[in-house]
Amino acid sequence: MSEDAANIATVADSPKPEPQPAVATDMPLLRIDTVAKKFGAFRAVDKLSLDVRAGEFFALLGPSGCGKTTLLRMLAGFETPDEGRILLDGKDIAQVLPHERPVNMMFQNYALFPHLNVRDNIAFGLKRAGMPRSDIKTRVAEMVALVKLDGLEKRKPDQLSGGQKQRVALARSLARRPQVLLLDEPLAALDKKLRESTQLELMELQRRLGMTFIIVTHDQEEAMTMASRIGVMDAGRLQQVATPRELYEAPASRWIAEFVGEVNLFDGQVEPHESNRLTVATRDAGTIFTAEPRHPVAKATVCVAIRPEKIKLSRRGPASDAVNAHAINRLEGVVSDVSYLGGFTTYKVKLDSGAMLRSSMANTARLDVDAYSAGQRVTAWFTPDDCVVLEQ
């Protein structure tokens, strides 16, 4: 299963024949090779393989209990894999103790040493590394400036705000210039506004340092915003590894489609092929025209996934687009619920078949001349390219 996911990922990553630097240097910075970890009878991580390239901002995304934190802790050395190898720069570090790994971790609760001030917290790892005093001083000053903590060097952790603590933890874990920085839910304790600005700062920092970041998060928006690639985990396995865009627009499975963002799903049977179109007969939405899926559909029973923002509503149907009219999917129904969310509005439409359809439309005009209200009859339409065909 995880190999499958990895294959999909490699296919998904390069739909266009783009030259990838990782292919040229044949060996990724970090290779996780069929790693497994059990706690009693519970398989926390189940024969998982993953490559992370140098300079990547990689996110491990998944619901709680999916094994993402266990995987991160195995990278840091706090857990030892039962099976498999973890190759960092070609060397197997699976059994290497935490203090001997060129990897540092930023802890979820920051784990700042309460008895040391900001400067000593940041200098802690440098002292252990046996760095000369004057160099430590320079490096700490550099780190303090990097995370904008100037003037707070003598404060103890309990005299800092949440955001400041987060910065100290970041500076402390970056100070040793690790080959890979592991971040365990680094922004979970911050409020929304601060979290958003910190996300951007982290990305900027990662770009500037050119360091490899691996972040664990359960917040898909956070993963989407920051990561260049995302590995979605469930039940100890990687379900898909892809860029944020691929993950959203071409989910590998029904589970991923439902886990990442909102989605409308219609189960149905594949009908005999017609040129480059696939038609699926669904119970709830009639016949849906879809684009040819990237992978040949093996089974007749499939699931059609359409993101809400791909579904447009209109009072009379998409009359203007007459050229492709034969291929456009139209569904009739009644608006049952309207949620105005500022930038966009989501509508719930009760289809004539009785199924519910979710549509979201950007509020591009300030005056709501085009808005629909509950009880109104509408035509929902979407193109074949808006559909993703998933096997069950």
């Binding site: 840091a76 050395g77 706090f78 103790l97 935490p98 203090h99 990897v103 540092n104 971790m105 802890f107 979820q108 609760n109 784990a111 700042l112 040493f113 309460p114 008895h115 802690f124 790892g125 252990r128 590394a129 103890k156 952790p157 309990d158 949440g162 402390r172 874990s173 040793r176 304790a189």
Partner: protein, 271 residues
């Protein structure tokens, strides 16, 4: 409403006063009578410090006091060392079979009647033919008080965030180094509190000491007890007052130490 409920009601004040009186009235009377000029314990003969000077000229009493003090310091130090090690092993070591049993066994001496502890130690010392005196009392007190130290230190370790040690290891410390540079400074206040607890327990123990000591090496409580059997001299009141002062001082310091330890723990706790 809110203000009224925050303030003590008349009932609360009364019950507090009664409770405190119940606890401290005998001690207050003892302290007052230690300044009594009269030879008779129950008759007030005016203020005087003469019983204090009597004590400081009483060689046997001073010997016993010095014995008690040396036993308390030595046994408290040994108990702190052993108790801390036990606490660390039980809360930080790998999960081993029977850990819960060991943990429970650590608490058992806390509730064991002192007579049993004392008697069993006496049997042991007789069996190994140990000469009873300073060291036998010290060992006996160490076995009693190390459990208290272990409990105090273990509860602090339990409240301490494990990720602090992991962070230290992540930043280049081997496990031993991580313990010394991060854990130890953070549990130091509770170790100090444990030492003081052990010190006071040893200082006022009569039962175990009387089982395990030998001729010529009586501790202060034993000495006082044997004096009292011949009739209470006002000098005893003076000695007791001094002991109360010493123990009160130690308890005040210990509670400050544990308060400090708690406050550090709070700042170390996850948000």
């Amino acid at each position: 409403m809110a203000r009224a409920s925050n303030r003590l009601s008349r009932f609360n004040v009364t019950s507090l006063a009664l409770g405190l009186a119940f606890l401290y009235l005998p001690i207050v009377i003892l302290v007052i009578y230690s300044f009594n000029a009269s030879r008779l314990v129950t008759v007030w003969g005016g203020w005087s410090l003469k019983w204090y000077s009597e004590f400081f000229n009483d060689g046997a009493m001073l010997d016993a006091a010095s014995m008690s003090f040396r036993v308390a310091v030595t046994s408290a130090t040994l108990a702190t060392l052993l108790g801390t090690l036990a606490a660390v092993a039980l809360s930080r070591g790998e999960r081993f079979k029977g850990r819960t049993l060991f943990s429970g066994m650590l608490y058992a001496p806390l509730v064991m009647p002192e007579v049993i502890t004392g008697l069993s130690l006496l049997l042991l010392f007789v069996a190994v033919n140990a000469e009873r005196g300073f060291w036998t009392v010290t060992i006996a007190h160490t076995t009693l008080t190390m459990c208290f130290v272990a409990v105090v230190v273990q509860s602090r370790l339990g409240a301490l965030d494990r990720s602090l040690e992991e962070a230290a290891m992540d930043l280049g410390c081997d496990p031993a180094r991580a313990f010394l540079s991060v854990t130890l400074p953070l549990i130091l206040p509770s170790i100090a509190a444990g030492w003081m607890l052990a010190f006071t327990l040893s200082l006022d123990d009569l039962v175990i000491a009387s089982f395990t000591t030998g001729p010529g090496s009586a501790t202060l409580p034993i000495r006082i007890y044997s004096e009292v059997r011949l009739g209470v001299k006002p000098e005893i009141n003076a000695i007791c007052t001094l002991i109360i002062a010493l123990i009160a001082a130690v308890i005040v310091v210990a509670s400050f130490a544990s308060k400090l330890s708690r406050e550090q723990g709070e700042s170390a706790a996850p948000l």
